[in-house]
Symmetry: D2
Subunit: 380 residues, 4 copies
């Protein structure tokens, strides 16, 4: 473990937060009620993972908090393959956090009038939101009319916070403004009417965004696929086809392997909200043999919900994990999302490789026998 720490160059304080958490419970009291203690989730490092993003650039050792054996090893294997191939590109494509208040009227006619009025007064709505926050801003205003109900689809940027709290308060201000000023008064309204995708997987996310949308890609030479993943680009593409159609028949949203493993372990380590795994574990993975016979792989995640301020990001051990990445605090949320995308890419490579080479089962078998040898390799 000492060797790993030396790789990281982080402060003694961070190190202590991760290694000896015994003294730190009082730091958590603003984040919990009815506290009786804490659970401890071990953190392993996956990497190095070379990322060439717009906001994150360099070789990252990614902290993953999990109690599932072999998970860190599997991600680490994928990360190393990416790094040996020269790294992956991971790009933040779009940002936006949504709230969708709902308003009930007497009739469609009133609903229509209200909608038109909102559109015409979007500057005022923007201003109302602006009174509540310096970091957030209303960036888009949409509308869904369903009979005499109107859903406003409000999209905000939220700075370095994941932003659910910020957009709720801003939306409340918008609701109060429209109720006070609209020429037609709603019979009742709710600050959130469940069209926002909060804490759930939705098809909606692909054509919009929830949080941060990231796409990442890498091309692994065939020789590297053989050496690191013990299979061929051809078989991995075949797996992709069969598994994509498997996912489609299951009625999943998007097609991917196990983004949730990456996201849960990363979110927990880095003080993100792990309930957001429900909405974030959606996207598209694609494997393709290139004209040169190498393996092109891309992942696209439309709903990464991360921040580097607020929530659990300031807690001692969680902040230490962000520091390991060099992504703690102001100005770092976009880079954090790009690392997320790169990590998901590493995981898709590793698990698909393991399913193609037969190592997926062998890893499970070794786990079942408690064979520790396996753990240095890790296959999903």
């Amino acid at each position: 473990m000492e060797k790993r720490w030396q790789l990281l160059k982080i402060s003694e304080e961070s190190r202590r937060a991760l290694y000896d958490p015994s003294a730190s419970l009082e730091h958590y009291e603003k984040n919990i009620e009815n506290c009786i203690g804490s659970v401890r989730i071990p953190v392993g490092l996956a990497g190095p993972l070379r990322v060439r993003g717009m906001f994150a650039s360099g070789d990252f050792y990614v902290p993953l908090a999990t109690t599932e054996a072999a998970l860190v090893a599997s991600y680490s294997r994928g990360a190393q393959a990416i790094t040996e191939a020269g790294g992956c590109v991971s790009i933040l494509l779009h940002e936006g956090m949504r709230r969708t208040p709902g308003f009930a009227f007497k009739s469609i006619t009133e609903a229509g009038l209200f909608s038109i009025w909102c559109m015409e007064n979007r500057d005022a709505l923007h201003a109302a939101a602006g009174t509540t926050t310096r970091h957030g801003e209303l960036t888009d205003l949409g509308m869904a009319i369903e009979g005499n109900h109107v859903y406003l689809i409000l999209e905000f940027v939220t700075g370095d916070a994941s932003g659910q709290n910020m957009v709720t308060i801003a939306t409340q201000a918008i609701c109060e403004y429209v109720v006070a000023h609209s020429p037609v008064t709603p019979k009742y309204h709710f600050v959130e009417a469940n069209l926002s995708g909060d804490k759930k997987a939705t098809a909606h996310s692909f054509v919009t965004v929830r949080g941060k949308k990231v796409s990442a890609e890498v091309t692994l030479p065939a020789a590297l696929v053989q050496e690191r993943l013990h299979t061929t680009p051809q078989l991995m593409e075949r797996y992709w086809k069969m598994s994509a159609i498997g996912a489609i028949q299951s009625g999943s949203i998007g097609v991917q392997g196990h983004y949730a493993n990456a996201l849960a372990a990363f979110y927990i380590a880095c003080g993100q909200d792990p309930a957001c795994v429900a909405e974030s574990a959606v996207g598209v993975t694609r494997f393709e043999v290139t004209d040169e016979g190498d393996l092109y792989t891309a992942v696209t995640l439309p709903s990464i919900v991360v921040g580097t301020v607020g929530g659990g990001t300031g807690l001692p051990s969680q902040r230490a994990c962000l520091e390991i990445l060099g992504l703690a605090g102001e100005g770092k949320a976009q880079g954090l999302a790009e690392v997320c995308g790169a990590l998901a890419l590493a995981g898709e490579l590793s698990i698909t490789g393991a399913l193609c080479s037969g190592e997926f089962t062998r890893a499970h078998q070794k786990l079942a026998r408690g064979d520790e040898a396996n753990k240095e390799k890790g296959h999903g």
Copy 2:
């Protein structure tokens, strides 16, 4: 905190595991690779939550591990309302863990022959699976033919384990058997071809099951709704209608509010796999005003993935949380799923109440101001 501990009557050792985790890192080494320490997630108690299930019965204080302020308070509020109403019924409806290996053939004709052969030899497949496990058993065998590809849909019971590991090994045995004995040999095959819903939300889950399917219900008298949730059954039903249609328009799977919050905090506390939040946070919530003017509420979750042995359930602080529930170890997994259902019910009541009474935003506003007073109440 002392008062809370006295409520719980658990062993000194468990108490220490939660309260002073400093000595315990070596216990985690079989569950992690490349370890550099641990993150600490504070645990709060929600309850008492009275559950009248087939496997779980009594008043539970539910440990929730989260860094999201107000979450525990909100669930606790819902739990207390349920308990005051006499408790909720929560019933395990169905169990089954799936693996879906995929086989590629030269033609549909071969695929068809293979499928028929599998059906005719299901006893042999059952036996092959049985060689790998004493706790698991193949309970259902389905098939999806897509051109020259065949997906076997294997469903197992897995005893008290969540079972992903167990079913992988059993499926491997089945794959080896069919490859060795089938009159048509697949060109290639994979032990899992992504029709199983592993780590992802799928529409499939409603008509099948993934893990454990639970439904829970409670009727809250109108007076209790007013006193505890500060709103009316009528408005809560109205919210349900608008939010259900909101969810439908977003392309979500099922309709519910925020199961993910309950599941993530509960899974982390109790040593479950938090990546399974991706597949578990799916279901149906229903609010209805009864003929007597009271509030009937039900939740149905078809994909709860929990176990009481294996995975992270034996780790010190995690096991302590299971002990708080009285649900550690053998024979307890079904009860754990019923508590999950009851907890999700508590959360849907609390958040919907908060959205109807306006407290949802006020809670967020207080959080933003760091107002601690709010935290004793908690609204989602």
Copy 3:
């Protein structure tokens, strides 16, 4: 039949086209290849249906072409109930026809550059589309990047044509423009890459539009529900809840009863493309008991694909059906969509009434016995 004709006041020529089609096959030769004759689909009238729309206003007798017994009678029953209640409001909310060409690049980086270039040159793209059509216009330009692939999401208005042909040609012009002028050249591209929802039900449609989005509503007094539908608003709301949750569990898109029946019969009668039933039969139906105890019902269809010029709309018998509605030719497509919405509303009322009163089965039983008496009433 004579009496029905007198209601309609249409030209002798239209009447002949519907009643004696023997002479008209040559009119069809531009609409078919390898012709061997024609099938005859009988047309019945449902109505009167009172519509109070922005583009369609008045009492309509709606021509429905079907070979399914009881269908016309059922829609007619619903239409009459609406009319007795004073008519329904049906409002066109949004219009837009999509094409989604796809472009493949070497890398995400190139894909990103291309996307930015497209955004910066949207006026030129608008102009390129404009060279191909006087009636259509590019109204929105979106983008979905997935790895090194870019999908342009082009939305057009298309005048009175349903517009699939028009938008294909305009999209081709845009593709040619971008390939010629973009600083990065795609490796290959396709004029349509299947994100448009053409000929298929998609979740996408709710947050966008495909063709025309319409919402229609009516409130039926309780006495009228009893008299016409032989049930109560309370039971119809209960049915709605159970059936909405049924649909959700089936993994359908939206929740509704049988829009497809209305749309297929209406599209065939009026020279629309019946394959578009696949994309149009999606939406949300809502039933609600009002504070006064009456029945509020709304339908919202985001993907009505209709036109009054082009396609089959100029063929003799089809044009006669449009003339019966007073909606043939230029300037009428928006009204046609509003009638569609009203018709779907009539159908949801009638079938739900029949399911609540028990008449749904009795209608089927009578059909099975060939009992003609039933047909004057019609229940779904």
Copy 4:
């Protein structure tokens, strides 16, 4: 046209039904109410289409009724390519028509008791259904409990009828039996509670069936792809990848191109219910370059709803179309479904070829100019 007729060897009466429908309106009166005449839909022949199925075998000229120019030509082109390649295999995989009655109880406990009672009495339910029909039979009984609601999932075989009517009557008998005999009496119930997928696309269909599930495949040599479709297997596979991911991002159910075009034209010609296009136009298309460089293509449609008796199948012009196929009357429904699958395959080949070669747009452009020359070729 005379030449085409000579190909077909059908009776003079059938020929007259298609060619001179003037005398036949009285035949339709049991299939329509409030009749004012008929619309005429021209019928073209696509083919020859060589099908090697279990129930349909031989070269078929497929009648398609449509007013969309180029549609028949496009399907004919695909059919001819299949035939030149030696024909396609099309296999009926599974049959079953569903009804899903819903029952409301006081509590989950009652719901559970009811469910268990139904399971224990499935023979009696089978018998109750059997009293209503000689052709249909209850083949599967499933259950979905949601709070205090129970949905029975009843699956029937229905002989040569599409069967919606038959299963409604049988389900009514089952409902009456359970209400009379169950130890717990439902508060209310409905013969259909919208979990059946009737008239709507559902994700449910892949893991079950609705009507008839068919899969069809063909391998086209690369030279034939070039000669007939003017493109290469490689580019068609690339198109498939991009379009599959396009469809996935749109939130469609399954991935396919335009099954709806085939199904609507075929259903209308052959007296099927065109509203069922809504549920049938769902499935999976797959294109793959084989190891030999040829093009493997498969389609799988889980929800083909067809019959050869009942509905519109006995009407003069519709019956003539069934006779052209040699699939009129008793014992032919399964073969009809296999032809449907083969036809969908032809269409996917033709449209994808056209999108790859650029002919898709050229076909639209020629249509726009009214250029008849195009029509002999046809590209989607």
